[in-house]
């Protein structure tokens, strides 16, 4: 449907929508450089908040945790998710489809509280491990969906041709399927990383008393006393997300459209 005339009102409505989407973020970024405690009026330019950020022990610990969890969770969920995506594209087993789509379809809070109870009933101490396990659980679904979409878009006759040329199914996968879906897998990994770093709700319930991640840190700061330090860390996180997602979009154009 591309390339058609777009009426003026559509342009205006869309511009407003885009403005709506981005203005608040711009405000956050702007005020991170504001030389004032209050997020009210512009006083002067300063990077002192960033300085405070890097001196904040708890913030640094939280950042480190977030990174660690994200790396582990994205690696594990990429492996599991790719396997799941492959199985989904075959259609068997049926139950896998339900298990993959259900966590995404339901409000996050459900998974959060269910996992909380689960861990406690198992007498597990809540901390980085419980968070990581939880992250893997929902990231698997996203990666699986991306990989499945990639597989669906792949020409089935290529695999047949490979087998016709004498390749057994595992060899056909290795030489033909895998190279062709690799961009999708990489993009899925980047998405999983982003999801993990940004996750709030599930982390909130499964973190326990001591562990902290960046989102949890931000939450407590916002609830208690918001200083532009929050703006600073937000800006940095925004930058990171931008990088990751643009990279994912470059690697596998079109995967970001996959939304069930």
């Amino acid at each position: 449907m591309g390339g058609r005339r777009v009426p003026a009102w559509m342009w205006i409505a869309s511009a407003i929508a885009f403005l709506f989407l981005y203005l608040p973020l711009v405000v956050v970024v702007l005020f991170s450089f504001n030389d004032s405690r209050l997020n009210a009026t512009w006083v002067g330019f300063t990077t002192s908040w960033y300085g405070k950020l890097f001196g904040d022990e708890r913030m640094l610990a939280a950042a480190w945790n977030s990174l660690l969890i994200a790396v582990v969770a994205s690696l594990a969920s990429t492996v599991l998710g790719t396997m799941a995506g492959f199985a989904l594209s075959r259609g068997r087993p049926r139950i896998l489809g339900f298990l993959v789509f259900a966590p995404i379809a339901m409000p996050e809070i459900l998974m959060g509280v269910a996992l909380l109870m689960f861990y406690v009933l198992l007498n597990m101490t809540l901390g980085l491990v419980s968070i990581t396990l939880s992250h893997i659980a929902f990231c698997v679904s996203y990666v699986a969906i991306v990989v499945r979409a990639r597989l669906a878009g792949m020409d089935e006759s290529l695999v047949e041709a490979a087998r016709d040329c004498g390749a057994s199914p595992p060899l056909a996968f290795r030489h033909v399927t895998l190279p062709l879906i690799l961009p999708g897998i990489v993009a899925g990994a980047l998405m999983a990383f982003t999801l993990s770093i940004d996750d709030f709700v599930i982390t909130f319930f499964t973190a326990g008393a001591t562990a902290s991640t960046l989102p949890l840190q931000i939450y407590s700061m916002v609830k208690v006393a918001a200083t532009p330090e929050v703006n600073a860390v937000s800006t940095l996180m925004l930058a990171l997300t931008l990088l990751l997602i643009t990279a994912a979009a470059r690697v596998a154009p079109g995967i970001l459209r996959i939304n069930q």
């Binding site: 020409d155 006759s157 290529l158 047949e160 041709a161 490979a162 087998r163 016709d164 040329c165 004498g166 390749a167 057994s168 060899l171 056909a172 030489h175 033909v176 190279p179 062709l180």
Partner: protein, 366 residues
Amino acid sequence: MALLEIKNVARRFGQTLAVDHVSLAIERGEFFTLLGPSGCGKTTLLRMIAGFDAPDNAREGGRIVLNGEDLTDRPPEHRPVRTVFQSYALFPHMTVAANVAFPLKMARTPSAEIQRKVAEALENVRLDAFAARFPHELSGGQRQRVAIARALVTRPTVMLLDEPLAALDAKLREQMQIELINLQKEVGITFIYVTHDQTEALALSHRIAVMSQGRVEQLDEPSKIYSFPCNRFVADFLGQCNILDGRIGAVDGERVDLELDGIGAVQAAIPSCPAAGTRGALALRPEKVALDRPGVMPRDASNRIAGHVSDFLYSGDVTMYVVELPGGRRIEALRANSAPGRTRFFDVGDPVEVSWTRDAGHFLPE
């Protein structure tokens, strides 16, 4: 013993019987074509030979035997059969050379030998200059030739071609048809070709199996099928054909009087003619129907009937005239536009006479 024996193979998809207990014997070195409209089961049959599908009745005797070896339970990668896919199925992430080398690599051929064989295969299809290119950089015809080279490089016993020329334009298709014939003669490999294009089948094949609704209607050489179709479907599917219903009248040895519905009595020569009164149809090819101005044809020309032109289709080299006969029936007559002297063209409404010789048609009993 035939090279490839297909024994009583059946395949069902849901309610439809895609392949209805088909048995075929394909000889070594022949160019064998499965011809039929879409849905007739030819592609399903081909896939079963390749191994991508299996007969439903494998345990009840539906088998596929190549060179005496029963292939029915073997996966595709273990069959000495290579397929040229309709979409070519070239691996987009590999160069032309890598594509052609792939089967050799899967067969664990030493790399020096791979290089040699790949070069040879590419020379065979005249693409040696394109070895380092990727499939998306090639034209349709070139991709097709890479697909053929890849299929031939391991010298398979049988090569399967699934409508390989369907995506090419008419001129290129003609060229490729000639190339395919020559290639097959050169390498001597048995080709099993699937197409819905009857002119292609007639041009390429040593033998054709005409299929409809999962069954083989007729299996024979192209010229025999064309001149002596065994039923209405085959007569109509191959080339143009007048199918004139009628009844056998007086029989005198081979000389028969046919009462054609809406036309009247005509004379035919029918070997081993069925009894008088049998209903059937006369299959009459338009090119066998002569057409001219009234009074031009000799008086004693057989089956001379007057009518008028109701339609015509000019095609450059020939013109197809639709002649309406008294009684309402229509007959198609094909006339070359390059007869010696000035060619006479007819227009709608012109009175004309058509005629055909006694043995021009072929009788199809009901």
